[in-house]
Every structure is written in structure tokens, then in C-alpha cells.
């Protein structure tokens, strides 16, 4: 008699097993899991990693604040945006030339030209886009987009754990967060008065919020210090000491208290059977 083929955990294959067949391995695994849950929890969660992740998120949030700082700079104080733009662009070019090789820089040159001309072409259209809309609705829209941006940042990490617990590049890394950021910048840009302002604002936003975080590590101590300095001083300038103090409290809480809470949740409240779920979850057919 022919040896039976081993059972596969795939529903779309016709197999020579009854419908209610239970794999003996599964029973073994469930048994093991039961034993494991009786033991005290093993502390295999890396607290320093959690803290570093929260710090990175904090830096990203600080980074998004630059959009509003630039907007206030151009729209409220009505300063000339051209020198700032020139400085930022110069820095970005310097860093990118320093970093990348010849071929990459050529490609970058092409795409940066495309971006610059796209912004240049569309800025007159953007300028007139929300002329008839009330300012308040634009601020609300921008706030919602920003919240959504932070949420999408925290929910789509650039690296994920695979089944064996190693960090790998996330294959499903999404463009969504970048797009929301761009949309936020464009919505704000539609409130500006002149085409130059729109162009400069978009250029600064793209460079500071998208290109620089990709080129440099924004959690680096020097850059982080600079970012904090700029953000807090501008909040103090525009909104006063109280607002800066509240902002400081919130950020301290998110750096110090939230990671601890998260750690506590992971150790005590998280479902213990996620391992069985990851091993025995519904499989997605691979079509290629």
C-alpha cells in the first residue's frame, strides 16, 4: 500500500484526509502552550528597544511640527521664505552629495528636477484651490491629516519581526504616510497668498520632512538637540510659555511613561496564544 502523503495545512488542496482531521502536531503544540502559560512569564521583551521605538516616534512627531513652524513663518509673520529655502536646499544637496555615489546622484538629480518643476507648475493652481473655503475648515482638515499621519507612522514600521523573531525589511511598507504628509502640506499651501510662498513652503516641507529623515538619522543626538531647540523656541515665541510647558509635559510623558505602560501591557495583559496564531493562522494563497 502506498504511503499517505503528509497532511498540509492548506484548504485549497484536495487531500486524502477527512474534513475534521486534526494534525497530531497541533495537539502537541497546544499541550506545550498550556504548560507554558502556567509558568511565570519569561522576560524576553527588550525594554531598551521599546524605549528607542518610542523615542523615534517622538522625533518623527517633532519633525512634523516643522510643517506648522514653516507655515507660521510664511503665513503669520509674513517673512520672506526665499533665504530659508535656499539654505535648506543647500544643506540637503550637500548631505546627499556627500552620501551617495555618482549614479545615484544622477538619478536623484532627475527626480529632484521632476519634483521641483511639478511643484513650480502646480503652485499657482494650489494657490487658488481653496480660496472660497473657510480657513477654519482647512485648519481642521490639516489637523485630521496630521493625526492620521502620526497614526500611519506608528502602524506601518519599516521593519517587522518575522516568524523566527528576527528583524527583516517590511515588504508591505506603505507610501501612505508620505502621501498624507504631502497632502497636509498641500492643503496648508493652498492658504498662502503668492505663488513664491506656495513653492517655497512645499519645497521646505518636502525636504525637511521627507528627504532629511531618509538621509540622516533624526534620533542622532546633535540633530535631535537642534530639532528640540527649534520646536520649543518657536512654540514659546508663537504660543507662550504655558503652551510650551504643556507640550514639554506631554512629550516627557510619551518618552518616559508610555514605554513603561506598554512594557507592562506586553508582559501582563497581552494574549499568550499569539504564537499559535502566528503558526496556525489562515494562510494566504501565493499566486505567482
Amino acid at each position: 500500500m502506498k504511503e499517505k502523503e503528509p497532511w498540509k495545512r492548506l484548504l485549497w488542496i484536495r487531500q486524502d484526509y477527512p474534513d475534521n482531521y486534526t494534525d497530531p502536531n497541533f495537539l502537541l503544540y497546544a499541550e506545550k502552550l498550556k504548560e507554558k502559560s502556567k509558568r511565570p512569564p519569561d522576560f524576553d521583551y527588550d525594554y531598551s528597544q521599546i524605549r528607542a521605538d518610542f523615542l523615534e516616534l517622538y522625533h518623527m512627531v517633532l519633525n512634523t511640527c516643522f510643517i506648522y513652524i514653516t507655515f507660521t513663518y510664511i503665513n503669520y509673520y509674513e517673512y520672506n521664505p526665499i533665504p530659508v529655502t535656499c539654505i535648506v536646499t543647500f544643506f540637503v544637496i550637500l548631505i546627499s552629495n556627500h552620501k551617495s555615489e555618482e549614479l545615484a546622484s544622477l538619478l536623484n538629480f532627475k527626480s529632484s528636477m521632476i519634483m521641483a518643476f511639478t511643484i513650480l507648475t502646480l503652485s499657482p493652481v494650489l494657490k487658488s484651490l481653496s480660496k472660497t473655503t473657510a480657513s477654519d475648515s482647512i485648519w481642521t482638515l490639516s489637523f485630521c491629516l496630521n493625526m492620521f499621519y502620526i497614526y500611519s507612522l506608528s502602524s506601518s514600521p519599516s521593519s517587522v519581526m518575522d516568524g523566527r523573531g528576527e528583524l527583516i525589511q517590511n515588504e508591505k511598507q506603505s507610501n501612505l504616510s508620505t502621501n498624507i504628509l504631502l497632502a497636509n502640506a498641500a492643503v496648508l499651501a493652498s492658504r498662502l497668498i503668492s505663488t513664491t510662498q506656495v513653492f517655497c513652503f512645499l519645497l521646505i516641507s518636502v525636504q525637511v520632512n521627507i528627504i532629511i529623515p531618509n538621509l540622516l538619522n533624526i534620533s542622532n543626538f546633535k540633530i535631535s538637540l537642534l530639532t528640540n531647540l527649534i520646536v520649543y523656541s518657536s512654540i514659546t515665541m508663537r504660543l507662550g510659555y504655558k503652551a510650551a510647558f504643556i507640550f514639554l509635559l506631554i512629550s516627557l510623558a510619551s518618552i518616559i511613561i508610555l514605554p513603561r505602560l506598554f512594557y507592562y501591557w506586553q508582559v501582563h495583559c497581552k494574549r499568550k496564544d499569539y504564537e499559535v496564531l502566528s503558526l496556525w493562522d489562515t494562510k494566504v494563497p501565493i499566486l505567482n
Binding site: 527626480s111 529632484s112 521632476i114 519634483m115 511639478t118 511643484i119 502646480l122 493652481v125 494650489l126 487658488s128 484651490l129 481653496s130 480660496k131 472660497t132 473655503t133 508591505k172 511598507q173 506603505s174 507610501n175 501612505l176 508620505t178 502621501n179 504631502l182 497632502a183 498641500a186 492643503v187 493652498s190 518636502v206 521627507i210 528627504i211 499566486l287
Partner: protein, 539 residues
Amino acid sequence: MFCNVLEFEAPKLNLMQFFSLDPISLALPEKELHNSKKVTLDNVKKIMYHKSYFNFSGNLPQSINLLNLYYTHLNAFSEKYSHLIIGENRLSEKLFSILLKCYQHSFLSRVTSRLLFYLLMSLCFIAQNIYLLLHWSYFPIVTISATLQQIDLRCQQIAYFPVQYLKINKNVTIRKALPRFRSYSEASASLRSELPCKFYPDYIRLYNTIWLIVNDVSFGLIIGAILHDQHDQLVNIVASSIQFCCYDSIKKITIFLSNNPFGIKLNEELASFLSELFLWIIEFTFNGFAKYFVDKSNLSWFLSLLTQIMCLSGASFGLSLIMDFFSILSLHLYLFYHISGKLYHWQLNCMISLFYLFCGKKRNVLRDRIDHHFFELDQLLMGTLLFLILVFLMPTVLAFYICYTILRLMAMCVEIFLESIIGLINHFPLFALLLRIKDPKRLPGGISINWNRTEPGLTIFTLENNPLKISRMFRPYSILMSKIRYNYFSSYTARQILKGLPLTLNRTKLYHVLYFSLPDGPIKARDIYAKLSDALANP
């Protein structure tokens, strides 16, 4: 012994009464419209085909045919056993038949029939050529205009008359020859079995068409007379209403749309551009041709032409002329609807694909699904900026689109109303309806066997003719109405409008269902000629 007796009133074949198991069809057999609500439940099907409900013997059709030929058999019987029969033919009938025979063999009859024959053939020939011209395969102009469609219908009817005559005539000759089959031979049985139901619908169709044409002309005369009487007032009313409905009010609406309608904040630049574009089209159509239509002397001339056409060739021609006039006048509405629809559709499609880009996804055409895709920064920037711009411009385009769609739908309602009246005038089952009132036995729609009375040892039933149901006569209309409802007043329409796809329907295709008594293509004039001359040679 117990037995059942079935009583029936013998159908008079010469009065075209007969029994039929199935309802006779008013449409041509190849255009028979099947009921869409067929029984599809498996259990019901099983019951229907069960032994106890199913008649395998097939005696009933034969018996019915025998009943239909009651008087034929009676004649045969009386000729064979004349001494058993009491009563005689009436004198007047005999005299009439002798006179008819004399006439049929006279010179006069031959001359008149020849003349009629050539007249009919030339008419038929002309009608067929017009039909072919209208249905030119490269550009079937019949689809453009209602008047041309009306001409086409008349041509088809005229070209089909000889064929119908031949069909009826052939059956009449068989009927005449029937008394010769006195024995129950197989050949005569098969001939008998397909006797009345075969030619009879053709007879109804032919006379229905003729009745309708006569009716149409009489309606035309009435309406034409009214139009003639009210000529001057009508010219004034029509001129001012065209000016108001088709130009002034639409101009007002377009200008209103460009100035933040109902407090909705539209994009100023785009709104003013679009309204200027549409105003320009209005001016162009008005100065191009509508000015001449609105001009009172021209309108008066048109109205008198309409009156004359109505008096000469019927109300349907006049109505189709009015419809063409209306569609020319509402041409700019048609253009507006299509322009704004195209804009909207294009924008919607762009927005959908850019939204995929926004979410970091991309449509996979090969597998017809949405796949994850990582875009470069320059692509993202361009896509997102364009997406935002389109989102902000959407309300403006949408406002114009909705407004013009509503206007177009209103114009469509007028067109549908006129077309349904024309359809009613052209295809109303008038003859069948009158026949149903006059003598329901001539329109059999199946039989029923009812209990009559019980005598000792004897149950008496009566066999009755169920007249054709009125809903069955009007089935093409109900189908047409449901089609119209599906195309213009349903969720399908709403979906089509939401997607920005055009709401157009081929008129000839839509009204095709009403051409149930006409064949699809014309029958060749040469064949008709050969057959008709045959029939003429052997009367």
C-alpha cells in the same frame, strides 16, 4: 353504467371560430416573446412532469381538431347520406356564390386584378428600396430621426402586405380543398391538424395593420383640424415657450452655477470657465439654427406643414416630426450633458487611480486586482498634488454635471412620452381587441372544461373557449415599459449617472419589441413577384 358527456358549441370555421389548446400568438412565431417568469423551482418541475399530472396519450389535440372540423364533417355526411339530412341551403347564399363565380371568370376581373397586381408590386418595390436606403449598413440613418423611423415602419408594412396576403390565401385554398378529403387518410389528417391556428394570426395581423393605418390617418385629420383652427395662438405660445424653456432659463441656470449656488463654495476659476464654455455653446446653437426656428414666420410655416402632413399621412408622422423638431431644439442640452459627463467621468477615473497611489497601491491589469506597490518620491509628490487638486475641483464639476443631467433627463422624459404615443398609434392591438369584444371565440386562448349538471348516471360538462387574455395582447407594451423603466428610472440609471457614463439607448433597438408583427428583414421583391403571379395565374 356511469359516463361523462362533454357538451360544446360547434365552432363555425367560416366565421373563423375555433378551439385551440394554446393561446394564439399575435406576434410572428419567430418573434414570440417568452415569458421571463418561467417556473424554475426543481420541485415544481418534478410535480409538473409527474405521471399523474402528465398526459402521455396526446388524445386531446386530436379531439380538439376533430371538434374544430365539426361542420366540415357534417357537410361530408350530408353529401353522402343526403336522405338523412333535413333542411337545405338558403337561396341567397347560392345566388351569391354563382355571381361570385361569374365575376371571377370574367374579363373585367382579370384586368382589375392585373392592374392591382402591378400597382401593388411597384409600391412594394419602392418601399423595399426605401427600406434598404434607410438601413444602409455604413450609416443607418433610420436611427437618427423619428420621422425616418416612421417612414421605415410604413415601408416595412407595405412590403410585408403581399406576403401576408399570400399566407392567408394559401390557407384559404387548402380550406376550400378540404371537403374533398372525405376519408380519414393520413395525409388529410395531418392537413386537418394544422388547419386553423396556422393562418389565422396572419389574418389578425394584416387587418390590425390596416386598421391602425386607417386609424392613424383619422387621428391625423382630427389633430390637423385642431391645429389649423388654433394656428395663430399656437405659433405665439410655441415661440415664447421655446425661447423660455430652451434658452432663457438654461442661460439663467448656467450663470447661477458660476456664482456659488445655494452657498456651496465652488472653485471660482473653474466654475467661471465652465459656465463661459456652456454660455458660448448656448449662443452658438441659438445663433446657428434655433433663431430661425423661434422666428414666428418660420414657425407658422412649420406648423402649417405639420398640419398638412398630419392630414395626409397620419398623426404618427406629425408626432415624429414634432419629436425631431424637439430633439434639434434640445441639441445643446444633449451636448452639455455629454461634455459635463465626460469631464466628470474622466475626473472620477483619475481620482480613483490616484487614490490607489495615495494608499501606496496600484491596479494590476494582468490579474485584475489591486496590488501593493512602492512608489518613488517624485511619483508620490506628483500623484498626491494632482489628487488633492482634483478633490478640490470635484464639487464644481459635480454641480455642473448634476444640473445638466437633470435637464437632460427632463428632455428625455418628453421624448419618451412622445415616442410612447407614437408607439401606441403604430402598434396598438386594436383589431384583436375589437375582435375580443365582438366574438371572443375568434380569439382562442386555450380551453376550459366546466361542470354543467349531473343527471342520473350522467355527468355533463361543457367545453368552453377561453378568450385570449388582454394582458397577453399587451405583452409587448409591458416589456417595452419595463425596458424603459430599467433604462431611465432604476438603480441601473443611478449607477450610470454616478459613474458619469452616458445614458443613451438605441431607439430602434428599444422599439424593436413593438415590431412583433413584422419580419426582421424584407422579403425579396422578386420572390413576392413570382409567388403572386403564380397565385394570379391559378386562382
